[in-house]
Amino acid sequence: MPTSLPEMSALNKKLTQTLAETISKQVKHFNKRETECLIRLCNGLLGDQTLVSIHNSKSLLLLVYLAVFHTFDKDSDGYISVKEWIEGLSVFLRGTLDEKIKYCFAVYDLNSDGYISREEMLQMLNDSMIREPTEEDPDEGIKDLVEITFKRMDYDHDGRLSYADFERAVREENLLLEAFGSCLPDAESTLVFEEQAFKDPPGQ
C-alpha cells in the first residue's frame, strides 16, 4: 500500500521500523538501519526539497529535474511514496552502472516513448552553449553538436536513440551516462549526503 508523504509524518517510531524492515527487503543497496534513516529523513523533510538538497540544484536544469521526479514516481500518481523515494535513492546513491543507465535513459526520454529523438536532445541541450551572435545562425553550434552526438550514439542508424543505443554508447564511454544534463549526484555530494543521512540519530 503506497503511503503518501503527509501521512508519513504521523507514523510513529515503531511503524517506521516495521516499514524499514519490509522495504529493505525489497530495495537493493540499503540495509535495514540505512532504510530506517532514510524514512526518518523523509519524515523530517518535504520530499522535493530533499531531492533538491541532494542534488545541488544549481547544476540541475528544470526540465531534467522534472524528469527526475517522474522517474522516481514510478506509478505516476504525482507523489513519491516512501518506497519510491528509497528505491530512487538506491539508484541515486549506490546504483550499479546498469541501474544508472536505465535511470538516465528514463530521464532523457522526455515523452516516455522508449526513444530519445533529435528534438528531445536539442530541447535538453538548448541552453548548453553560448550563442555566437556574429554567426548567421546563432544556434548552429548547438545543432552541430547535437548532430555529432546523435551520429555517434545512433548505432543502428534509425534516426533515434533506443535504449540499446544508449546503453552501448555509455558502456563504450562512461562519460555519456549523463550526456544530456546532470541527473545524478557526484561522488562528493553522495558522500556528504550519506554521512548526514546515515549518522546515528540523536538519542539512540
Binding site: 541541450l125 553560448i130 555566437e132 553550434g141 552541430d144 553538436l145 550526456a179 558522500l191
Partner: protein, 1004 residues
C-alpha cells in the same frame, strides 16, 4: 621580485638598491599588485609564508605601537625564529619583519596606510637579497622554491620591455626622417657601433648584461646632439660612463618629442606614416629573423637558443601591449556559484597568453590564417619563462641525469591547404569547448576523443586553437566528468614531447597533481597516468615534486592487502597501478627517488610487488630499480624484505620485467647483506639462466650486472661456479655492446680472486679477449678490465715477493730480477706495493747481503720502487741511503751501474742528497766515471747530476776532479749522458761563481 621589479618600476635614480620610487601610474599599479600579493600570501601559501627571511626587511614605518593589537606583545611578535629573534619588531620609526606571514599581518593592520608601508618597504635596501640571503645556495632555494616561483611569476607579467628588433625598426624609421628638404625632421641618426651581435645588440657584452641594446647619436634640427642609450628597460639620454641623465622613455619617438620641439611638431604630420610603417616592417623583420635562426645555425648552444626565444617572445609582446591579465576566464556559462574553480589563480603563463593573442589577432586580421608563417606559435613552444630558466639552473639535478626527452622538430605542412579536414574539425570543437556549459563540454570532449589523437595534426589543432589552456582549465573546475574527459584527451596527446612541454609551460602539472586528491577513482587514475606521460623531462618531474605530487602519488599505492578483490577493490588496484606508472616516470630524477622514499613509497611498492599482475609489476619493479640507485632506497628495499620477491619475479616469463628485476638486484647488490639474501633465496641460478637470452641486450646488461655485483661475495662466486658461469661469461667477452662488457669483465674480475677460477678462465681462453679489451676507451670498462687482468698478475707478483725471503741467494736474486719488469710495466706499481706489508723493509734489508748478484738485483728493484714518492719515503725511513752509500766502494761494474741508478732515484726525497754526501757516497761515484763500461757512465752521470744540486756535494765532486772527467766525456754519442754531464758541470760552475762573488765581491 628583484629583476623584473627593478626593471619595471620607475625609480628616481638610475640604480636600484636604495632609491625612491617615482609616483607614476605604473608604480602605483605595481604597488597595489604587490600589496594584494602580500596580503593574500599567507592564506594562499601558508607553508611559504612561514619561511624566515635571511635578514629582516626593515624600513621606516608610519605605524606606532598603538596600531598593534593584542596578539602583538606591543612591538614584538610572539612568534620567533629558531634563533629566538622575533619575527616582527618595532623600534620606532624602524620596523623589522622576518617572514611573509608577518608582512601579511602588518599590511592588514596598517589599514589606509597600506600602500605607504609597502612603498617604504620596497625602497629599503635590496629586499630580495634579504629574503633569500646573499648567497643563494641550492638548499635554501629549494626551501624557498615555491615562494620564489610565485614571487617571480607574479611580477613577470609586469615587464614592459624593449627588444633589439623593436629598437632597430624604430631607428630605421627615424633614418627616413633625416632626408633633406621640407620634410626633414632630424639631421642625423647613427649608431655608435656598426657591429651588431647575433642577438641584435650593438653594445659590448658586459653592458648587454645590464640590458643595454645600443647607443645612438641623434642630431635634432633645433637642439644639441643627443646621446641616447636604448636598453631593454627603455630609452634615455646617457652621460659619461653609461649613466642615465634623463628620465626613462618607452621609445625613441617619445624621447625625441620631449627633447626637440621641432621633432614633436613635425612628427605628428608624419604620424600616419609611423603607424603605417612600424607594424609592417616589424612583421617582415620578424619572419626573417626566425627563418635565419631556424635554418641558419643548427648547432647553436642551448643557452643561445633560449635567449633568442626570449627575445622573440618579447618581440611579440611589444606590439600586443601586455594587458596584465593573467587569468584565463572560464566561459561565462560556468560562472554560476559553486562551479567556479576554488583556485583563483589559474595562471596562464606569458608564452601561452601571447600565443593565443597572436592567434586571435592573426585570424581576425587575415582571412587566410597562414599557419606556417606565423612565428608566434613556432617559438612559443620552446619558450620557457625566465622564471623557468632561472629555476632550472638553480635546481639542476644530479649531473648524471640527462634530459632524455629530446625536443622533436615540429612537422608542419607547408600551407593550410595541406592541412587535413580533421584539423579544422578539431578547431571547431575547441571553439565549442570554450562556449559550452558542463553538459556540452562533456559531449564535445567525447566528440574530440573520436579523432585519432595520436596523430600530430590533431594535437596541433588542439594546441593552436588554445585548446590546451581550456583543457587544463577544466581540471581546476569542480566538474568531475569534465575533468575526466579532459584528462582522457590530455593522456593521449601527452605522448608527444611538444605537448608535454606545452602542458608543463601552462602549469598543467599543478592541476593534475591537485586532481590526485579527488574522491573519484577514475579521475585519480587518469591524472596519474597523464602525469606519467608528461613527466618524461626533468623540469616536469621537478614541478611534480615541488607541488607535492610525489606524496600524493605514493598515497595512491596504499591499497589494502587483497586475496580476492571485489570489483571496487579492483579499481583501487588500477588507481595504484597508474600511481606507480607516474612514480616510475618521476623516479628518473634523483631528488624524486629520495622524495618517494620519504613519502613511504618503498614499503608500499613492496606490497604491490606481491600482486600477480604483470602490468602492475613492470612499473613497480621499474620504479624500484630506479630508486635503487640511491643508497637510502636500497637499504629500504632490503629491510622491507623485497629481495625475496625480486628474486621470485626473476623467474617470470616477461623479459621486460626480468630486466627490471635484474637491474634492481644489480643496484641493490652493492650491499653485502643483499648479496647474501639473493643467494639465500636461490636467486643466483635464475640469474645464470638469464644469460642465455643473448639477443635481448638490455636484459643481458642487467643480468650480467647483477651477476657482477653478486660475485663480490665469495660464497656467491662458489655458487655461481656450480652453474658454470665462468664459461658463459668468457663467451660473452666478444661481440657484446660495452654496457654488457663492463659487467661481464667486472664479474670475471671478482671471480678471478679465487685461484681455481683463474685456471678456468685461462682454460676457456679468457685471457686473450680480456687483454684485447685493454685497448678500449670506455672508462668504466677499462677499470674493470685492469682489475680483472690484475687478478691474474697480482698473485704471481705476490709469490715473487715472498721468494725474497728465501735463504738461497740465487732464489733471492732471481726473484728480485723478476720483480723489476713487473714494477716497470704495471701502471699503479707503487700502489700495488702498498699491499705487501713489510715488503719494503724486506727489500732494504737485503742490501746487507754480501752476494754481489743479490745486491745488484735489489738495487735495480729499489731504483724502480723509488719512482713512487710514497714508497721512497718509506724506504728512506728504513735507512736506504746510508746502506746504498756503504756499497759505493764496490768495484763490481754490474753492481755499480744499478747502485748509481738507485742513488739517482733516491735523491728525490727530502734531504737524501745531503745524506748521500755525508755518508761519503759522492767521491766513490766520481771514480765510476773512470770505468770502461759506458752503461755505468750514464747511470753515474744521472746520480751526479742529482747530487750536484746540493752545494757540499759539488765541492766534493770538484775536489775529486769530476769536471775534467765529465768534460772529457761530453763528446759521448749518448745524448742523455751529454745532457746530464753538462747540467752537472753547470751546477758545479755556478756554485763556484757564487762562491767567488761572495769571497771577492766581484766575478773573477
Amino acid at each position: 621580485m628583484g629583476a623584473s621589479l627593478t626593471r619595471a618600476a620607475q625609480w628616481t635614480t638610475a640604480s636600484s638598491g636604495t632609491g625612491k620610487l617615482e609616483i607614476t601610474p605604473i608604480n602605483e599599479s605595481l604597488l597595489k599588485e604587490i600589496l594584494s600579493f602580500v596580503e593574500q600570501f599567507s592564506s594562499r601559501h601558508p607553508q611559504e609564508a612561514k619561511h624566515v627571511f635571511k635578514e629582516p626587511l626593515q624600513w621606516s614605518t608610519t605605524l606606532v605601537a598603538s596600531d598593534f593589537k593584542t596578539d602583538y606583545d606591543i612591538r614584538l611578535s610572539q612568534e620567533k625564529d629558531s634563533e629566538g629573534h622575533p619575527l616582527l619588531q618595532l623600534s620606532p620609526p624602524t620596523i623589522f619583519a622576518r617572514s611573509f606571514s608577518q608582512l601579511s599581518k602588518l599590511v592588514q593592520l596598517a589599514n589606509d596606510k597600506k600602500l605607504k608601508e609597502v612603498r617604504a618597504c620596497l625602497e629599503g635596501k635590496d629586499p630580495v637579497v634579504k629574503i633569500l640571503g646573499p648567497n643563494r645556495t641550492m638548499n635554501e632555494l629549494k626551501s624557498t622554491g615555491c615562494l620564489l616561483y610565485f614571487v617571480f611569476r607574479h611580477f613577470h607579467y609586469r615587464e614592459v620591455r624593449l627588444s633589439p628588433a623593436a629598437v632597430k625598426n624604430e631607428v630605421e624609421l627615424l633614418k627616413h626622417f633625416c632626408s633633406e628638404g621640407e620634410k626633414r625632421v632630424l639631421k642625423s641618426v647613427r649608431y655608435t657601433s656598426d657591429y651588431e651581435f647575433s642577438n641584435g645588440c650593438r653594445t659590448p657584452p658586459w653592458r648587454q648584461v645590464h640590458g643595454d641594446i645600443c647607443y645612438l647619436v641623434i642630431e635634432p634640427c633645433d637642439t644639441e646632439t643627443l646621446y641616447i642609450t636604448c636598453s631593454t628597460a627603455g630609452v634615455f639620454l646617457n652621460g659619461n660612463a653609461y649613466e642615465r641623465t634623463s628620465e626613462m622613455h618607452k621609445d625613441l619617438v617619445t624621447l625625441l618629442k620631449s627633447r626637440s620641439p621641432h621633432f614633436a611638431e613635425n612628427i605628428n604630420k608624419q604620424d600616419f606614416a609611423v603607424q603605417e610603417e612600424l607594424p609592417s616592417t616589424k612583421k617582415v623583420q620578424h619572419v626573417e629573423s626566425v627563418d635565419a635562426e631556424e635554418q641558419g645555425q643548427p648547432q647553436r648552444s642551448y643557452e643561445h637558443q633560449e635567449k633568442n626565444v626570449h627575445e622573440r617572445a618579447r618581440q611579440q609582446h611589444t606590439p600586443n601591449k601586455p594587458g596584465g591579465k593573467t587569468k584565463l576566464e572560464p566561459s561565462p556559462r560556468w560562472k554560476s556559484p559553486g562551479l567556479m574553480s576554488p583556485y583563483e589563480y589559474v595562471i596562464i603563463p606569458l608564452s601561452g597568453k601571447i600565443q593565443k593573442k597572436m592567434l586571435r589577432s592573426d585570424s581576425k586580421k587575415k582571412a587566410d590564417f597562414s599557419v606556417s608563417s606565423s612565428p608566434g606559435r613556432q617559438s612559443s613552444q620552446k619558450t620557457k619563462t625566465p622564471v623557468g630558466v632561472m629555476l632550472a639552473e638553480a635546481f639542476s639535478e644530479s649531473s648524471s641525469e640527462s634530459e632524455e626527452d629530446e625536443e622533436q622538430p615540429e612537422r608542419r605542412p607547408e600551407s593550410n591547404t595541406d592541412l587535413p579536414s580533421e584539423y579544422w574539425q578539431i578547431q571547431k570543437l575547441v571553439r565549442y569547448l570554450k562556449r559550452g556549459n558542463q553538459t556540452a563540454t562533456v559531449l564535445v570532449l567525447c566528440a574530440m576523443r573520436d579523432f585519432n589523437l595520436v596523430q600530430e595534426t590533431c594535437q596541433l589543432a588542439i594546441r593552436d586553437e588554445g585548446g590546451l589552456e581550456v583543457l587544463l582549465n577544466l581540471l581546476d573546475t569542480k566538474e568531475i566528468r569534465c575533468k575526466i574527459g579532459s584528462l582522457k584527451i590530455l593522456r593521449e596527446i601527452s605522448n608527444n614531447s611538444q605537448m608535454r612541454r606545452a602542458i608543463a609551460d601552462l602549469c598543467g602539472l599543478q592541476s593534475m597533481v591537485k586532481s590526485l586528491d579527488s574522491l573519484v577513482k577514475d579521475l585519480k587514475a587518469l591524472a596519474a597516468e597523464t602525469i606519467a606521460n608528461v613527466a618524461k623531462f626533468r623540469r616536469a618531474r621537478r614541478t611534480i615534486r615541488q607541488y607535492g605530487g610525489i606524496m600524493r602519488l605514493v598515497k595512491l599505492l596504499d591499497i589494502p592487502d587483497l586475496a580476492t578483490p571485489t570489483a571496487e577493490q579492483e579499481r583501487d588496484v588500477e588507481v595504484a597501478r597508474c600511481g606507480v606508472l607516474a612514480l616510475w616516470s618521476c623516479s628518473k630524477s634523483t631528488r624524486n627517488k629520495e622524495a618517494i622514499r620519504k613519502a613511504g613509497g618503498i614499503p608500499l611498492l613492496g606490497r604491490l610487488l606481491k600482486l600477480p599482475h604483470e602490468n602492475m609489476l613492470i612499473p613497480v619493479v621499474g620504479t624500484l630499480q630506479e630508486c635503487a640507485s640511491e643508497r637510502s632506497c636500497r637499504i629500504a628495499i632490503q629491510t622491507e624484505g623485497m629481495i625475496k620477491d625480486l628474486v621470485k619475479t626473476l623467474s617470470c616469463d616477461n623479459q621486460e620485467l626480468q630486466m627490471h628485476c635484474a637491474s634492481a638486484i644489480f643496484k641493490c647488490a652493492e650491499d653485502k647483506q643483499t648479496r647474501d639474501l639473493v643467494r639465500q633465496y636461490e636467486g643466483l641460478q635464475p640469474l645464470v639462466l638469464l644469460l642465455n637470452k643473448v639477443d635481448n641486450k638490455q636484459l643481458l646488461a642487467a643480468t650480467t650486472g647483477a651477476i657482477w655485483k653478486c660475485s663480490i661475495s665469495m660464497e656467491n662466486v662458489a655458487k655461481f661456479q656450480e652453474y658454470n658461469v665462468l664459461e658463459i661469461l668468457v663467451n660473452l667477452l666478444t661481440g657484446q655492446p660495452e654496457e654488457v662488457l663492463v659487467n661481464v669483465v667486472g664479474a670475471l674480475g671478482e671471480c678471478a680472486q679465487i685461484p681455481a677460477n683463474r685456471a678456468i678462465i685461462r682454460r676457456c681462453g679468457g685471457i686473450q679477449p680480456l687483454v684485447n679489451l685493454l685497448t678500449r676507451t670506455n672508462q668504466a670498462l677499462l677499470v674493470n678490465v685492469t682489475k680483472a687482468v690484475g687478478a691474474f698478475f697480482l698473485p704471481s707478483f705476490r709469490l715473487l715477493w715472498s721468494l725474497l725471503k728465501n735463504p738461497n741467494v740465487d732464489v733471492q736474486s732471481s726473484a728480485a730480477w723478476a720483480i723489476c719488469p713487473c714494477l716497470e710495466n704495471t701502471k699503479d706499481a707503487g700502489e700495488m706495493l702498498f699491499y705487501f706489508v713489510g715488503g719494503l723493509e724486506l727489500i732494504v734489508n737485503l742490501l746487507k747481503s754480501t752476494n754481489k748478484e743479490v745486491l745488484a738485483s735489489v738495487c735495480a728493484v729499489i731504483a724502480k720502487i723509488a719512482k713512487d714518492e710514497d714508497n721512497l719515503a718509506v724506504i728512506t725511513d728504513h735507512g736506504v741511503v746510508p746502506m746504498l752509500a756503504k756499497l759505493t766502494n764496490t768495484t763490481d761494474d754490474r753492481l755499480r751501474r744499478h747502485l748509481a741508478e738507485a742513488i739517482a732515484h733516491c735523491c728525490m726525497w727530502g734531504s737524501n742528497r745531503a745524506s748521500f754526501g755525508e755518508a761519503g757516497a759522492v767521491a766513490p761515484l766520481v771514480r765510476y766515471l773512470k770505468s770502461t763500461d759506458s752503461s755505468i757512465h750514464q747511470a753515474t752521470a744521472h746520480a751526479l747530476l742529482q747530487l750536484s744540486k746540493e752545494p757540499n756535494n759539488c765541492i766534493t765532486m770538484h775536489q775529486n776532479g769530476v769536471v775534467k772527467l765529465l768534460l772529457g766525456m761530453m763528446g759521448s754519442a749518448d745524448e742523455m749522458f751529454q745532457e746530464a754531464a753538462a747540467d752537472c758541470v753547470f751546477n758545479i760552475r755556478r756554485l763556484a761563481l757564487a762562491n767567488d762573488k761572495a769571497s771577492y765581491g766581484y766575478p773573477p
